[in-house]
Symmetry: C2
Subunit: 234 residues, 2 copies
């Protein structure tokens, strides 16, 4: 436990720490649940822009998987005796506003958004979950886009970029905007809710902030790697 005198809540009882941890887990699961429910709806909507019916099903299938993740998070919250609706509510406005700010203009941007945002989101969840208890970690581990789906997305994006090389600069720019918005979102959610302090029950604010900084830099590095795989500059 921290002994820095500058923080008003440095001295907390084990009970308070445990309550704080539980709140954190509920916050995390609530934010994942709402994020997945929104991703389901947005992907299903974006799927309509696809040029062919078989392409359309690629985003549709991802959407269906997101709904499964949403249900799994709700089930875990119910197991913990929590109301999923109450747990999700604080995140609704922020997540909706993220999607409003990153509304794809066409099919190319829709695919790119699915590729960039799903990957970052899931890595963020996984990085947080690594630091948590086993059952939470297991629950969060289920929130993964299948390798097969990611492969399908990558193949479609590569095909698209090969067919129209002028797309590269537009999509590289769009990718940068998406990652910027996604990382801002992650920080905003972290700052507003108990993410920063909750990561480790006995962490100081400084340690927690350092944890978040490490996670963000890993997310950024992985994003750059994925963009390179498409032949785009991050």
């Amino acid at each position: 436990m921290s002994i820095s005198a500058s923080e008003p809540d440095d001295c907390v009882s084990a009970g308070e720490l445990s309550a704080r941890y539980d709140n954190f887990v509920v916050d995390l699961l609530g934010s994942i649940a709402y994020g997945e429910l929104s991703a389901f709806e947005r992907l299903a909507t974006d799927a309509r822009h696809s040029p062919s019916l078989s392409d359309r099903a690629v985003l549709g299938k991802m959407a269906v998987a997101e709904f499964g993740h949403y249900e799994a998070m709700c089930a875990r919250l119910v197991e913990m005796g929590m109301d999923p609706e109450l747990a999700m509510a604080p995140y609704q406005r922020m997540v909706d506003s993220f999607h409003e700010r990153t509304r794809p203009a066409d099919w190319h941007e829709s695919l790119m958004k699915a590729y960039v945002v799903e990957a970052i989101t899931e890595e963020f969840y996984a990085a947080i979950a690594e630091r948590l208890d086993e059952s939470t970690r297991e629950a969060v581990a289920k929130v993964r886009t299948s390798d097969e789906q990611l492969q399908e997305l990558t193949t479609l994006l590569k095909k698209m970029l090969a067919q129209d090389p002028r797309l590269s600069s537009r999509l590289a720019l769009w990718g940068r905007r998406l990652v910027g918005e996604a990382l801002t979102q992650v920080q905003r959610i972290g700052a507003k809710h108990s993410f920063l302090m909750g990561l480790r029950a006995d962490a100081t604010q400084e340690q927690a902030a350092a944890d978040i900084a490490t996670i963000l830099s890993t997310l950024t590095r992985n994003h750059s790697r994925r963009m390179s795989q498409l032949g785009l500059t991050a």
Copy 2:
């Protein structure tokens, strides 16, 4: 086989009849597949209008089921050696235009549309499938909204109508518009593609038209019964 001299294609060989039947089945499965894919996307989009997060999941869950139906139809088409995309293509414009004409203005209308349109569509498929070979019938039988989901929808609609009695007349009107559009759609698809002639390999046009008329009147009767269950006039 019909012997009416007025029809140019009354005398057809067994091979032609079999080819006509196969075309009919492909048409039917293609129209169901595209209808379900669209329903998936529309329900997922409409879900966003819901007043609460748990209500939102009701349409979401239905949407996910529709996607499963779409996949089942595609799998059956592939089994038959057909390209699902080609089989769906002729229905795209008609189905999209149906959804444009019946775009719900709010959550109440979204729920009502799900209730009215799903039921009619599935009864139509089932009625057609009754007249077909066993493996097609089995494939089409899987395209059913679960009783549990229908029950959830009915409960939500009843609660909504009880809370705001002024809704009754608006939703009764909306229900009539939906059923009108849905039945027009059924007839249009039937007329344009081989549904009318394909129902029975040896049917005359008159017999096939009578079959369709029987189906339509059953659909209308069942719709009225469902509206009465909600306390609405059909």
